[in-house]
């Protein structure tokens, strides 16, 4: 079985701070990490490797420094790593990103593709299902459990608002994984040392053979017209009244906001 896990390097958004004076993001000193949902996906892949001898390849698209998360994946137990990096791929929205990654996947062998549900810097949850569509693969998203029969059938548990669903499909297929589903293993010490001696394959835009109009900025139907710090709302009204009057005020507010 061949598994490809798509991973992304993201700024640890929990560490992002806003300059209170200018209202802009302070990006300096924010650590970069492997996106948590993707790391969950890698853990699922590594468990399948242990049980069935699957070969696990990780791929990321990004700047050259994304190399760091590929080394981390090596140290966790990944067999191969690919860094898709090219200026022509920059400025991509989710559709152009998924087109480029799908292009890379077409050049690879896979039975199962695993992505994280969403990346914490964008929270879009779009790239996984879009890759599946480009490759004409069946997909299940929001996955919390995965069982493989050792042959072709994958049985998954998908989390929903009201509970869960159990679905079944045959390889090749794609799943998107929730970080909360599994606890990723730590890098092992020997692995860390070795990870820096292993080869990360570097791929560029020519190697994926995707039309230029489908990648990068040109391949992105959406564009950011403007971005701005979220507005700090002014304090509301404050009342010092009897309990009865206080309840009236609250009830009126709840009605006004259509909560009751």
């Amino acid at each position: 079985m061949k598994i490809v896990v798509c991973i992304k390097q993201v700024p640890d958004t929990a560490e992002v701070k806003i300059n209170p004076v200018t209202g802009t993001l302070i990006r300096e000193g924010v650590p970069s990490i492997m996106n948590p949902d993707d790391k969950g996906g890698l853990e699922f892949a590594l468990q399948l490797k242990e049980q069935y001898g699957a070969e696990v390849t990780v791929i990321t698209m990004g700047l050259p420094q994304s190399d760091a998360i590929l080394r981390e994946a090596f140290a966790m137990g990944a067999d191969k790593a690919i860094l898709l990096t090219d200026r022509r791929l920059g400025g991509a929205d989710t559709l152009a990103t998924s087109s480029a990654i799908a292009g890379a996947l077409r050049k690879m062998e896979y039975d199962l593709i695993i992505t994280g549900r969403q990346a914490i810097d964008g929270d879009t949850a779009q790239v996984g299902p879009q890759i599946a569509e480009h490759l004409d693969l069946p997909q299940v998203s929001y996955l919390v459990d995965l069982q493989y029969d050792g042959n072709k059938t994958i049985t998954v548990r998908k989390e929903t608002e009201d509970g869960y669903e159990v679905l079944q499909m045959e390889t090749p297929c794609l799943v998107t994984v929730l970080a909360s589903a599994v606890k990723p293993r730590y890098m092992n010490v020997a692995g860390i040392v070795e990870a820096y001696n292993r080869e990360v394959e570097i791929w560029n835009a020519d190697m994926i053979e995707v039309p230029a109009e489908h990648i990068g900025k040109a391949g992105s139907p959406t564009s950011v017209a403007k971005s701005f710090p979220k507005s700090v709302k002014p304090a509301g009204e404050k009342f010092e009244v009897s309990a009865e009057e206080a309840v009236d005020l609250i009830i009126n507010k709840l009605k006004e906001k259509h909560i009751i």
Partner: protein, 334 residues
């Protein structure tokens, strides 16, 4: 692409077990507003099995037209049949705008549609407007909510967005509204649909409440004092259909579980309503709840910083006000 060929504001009217989801009605309310600005129509796409008799309620919520696809293959949501149905409607009807609720279903469906139709998709918009050039302006939080971005999809159609539930306002249902209900026939590709099999659907009562998912939170701080105080909050939360949450003061004291803690060392929440009871409002707490849509604070101390983020501040004793409020809400139901 000739974008002038595309018109009208479409909404995917999500149903589960035959029940129209609130977010569908919210989107129709927003769509009505957008369509009126554009002088175009609101069209609901309504997929399922045995659902046709509910189409009228979508018209009451703002739709001019409802495209109903009533088919056994659409009974329970599955990615492929839903993608096929909506794609055929997109190809034949050419919508200018398509909005989908940012639910588990919507966030699975929308990206598949965007790739199949090679158009843009904005994720989880919180604000939707029409620009002077008649473009659809979709604004969403980025960087973990630290920044807002306004996104356009100028040269591709439909302009698609998923929209967070609970953000848009639904219209007051108007049962006198007239509209058209169309039975739409889809040519399903069953071979493709059969690639994924639904084995079972399990409904679960969530044992430990996830306060991050709750739409209404009644939160307590130091002012709540003890387990008896917590009971008062629980009664109010139950009456409102919400959950109780806590500031660190209460969880550190062991009065409430850590998984209900809001703030820097707890969870970040963004409910429709956050009632802060006896919470002073330290920055560590406020950073975890300031994005709530409506914040009501009750505190004895009129200088408490919580009042700076509250939409409505009540200086008073929560032990009196909270039970009285619960009682009043109960009586209103009768």
């Amino acid at each position: 692409m000739d974008t002038t060929q595309y018109k009208d504001v479409y909404v995917f009217a999500e149903q589960r077990d035959g029940k129209i989801q609130n977010v569908a009605l919210e989107l129709l309310g927003k769509a009505r507003e957008l369509a009126d600005t554009l002088n175009e129509k609101v069209v609901a796409i309504f997929l399922g099995k045995g659902i046709k008799d509910q189409a009228q309620s979508l018209i009451a919520a703002g739709a001019d037209k409802v495209m109903v696809v009533d088919d056994a293959v659409l009974d329970h949501y599955m990615t492929e049949p839903y993608s096929q149905a909506i794609t055929q409607i997109i190809k034949e009807q050419k919508p200018s705008i398509l909005m989908i609720g940012a639910t588990t279903i919507g966030r699975d469906l929308a990206p598949r549609l965007s790739a199949r139709n090679r158009t843009g998709l904005t994720a989880d918009a919180t604000k939707l407007e029409i620009s002077e050039e008649r473009d659809f302006m979709m604004t969403r939080p980025a960087f973990g909510g630290n920044l807002m971005a306004t996104i356009l999809c100028k040269d591709h159609r439909p302009q698609m967005s998923t929209v967070r539930p609970g953000v848009m306002q639904k219209m007051k249902a108007d049962n006198t509204r007239k509209g058209e209900i169309v039975d739409y026939k889809i040519n399903f590709d069953m071979a493709k649909i059969n690639r994924v099999k639904l084995i079972k659907v399990v409904k679960e009562e969530k044992t430990s409440a996830d306060i991050a998912e709750a739409k209404i939170l009644v939160a307590g701080g130091r002012g709540v004092q003890n387990a008896e105080g917590v009971k008062k909050l629980e009664a109010l939360a139950e009456q409102l259909g919400g959950e109780v949450a806590a500031s660190r003061a209460l969880t550190d004291a062991g009065i409430m579980d850590h998984d209900r803690q809001v703030g820097q060392t707890g969870k970040t929440v963004r409910p429709n309503l956050y009632i802060a009871c006896g919470i002073s409002g330290a920055i560590q707490h406020v950073s975890g709840m300031e994005e709530s849509d409506l914040i009501i604070a009750i505190n004895k101390d009129k200088t408490a910083p919580i009042f700076q983020v509250a939409d409505l501040g009540i200086v008073g004793d929560l032990n009196k006000i909270v039970p009285m409020l619960t009682e009043r809400l109960k009586n209103m139901e009768k």
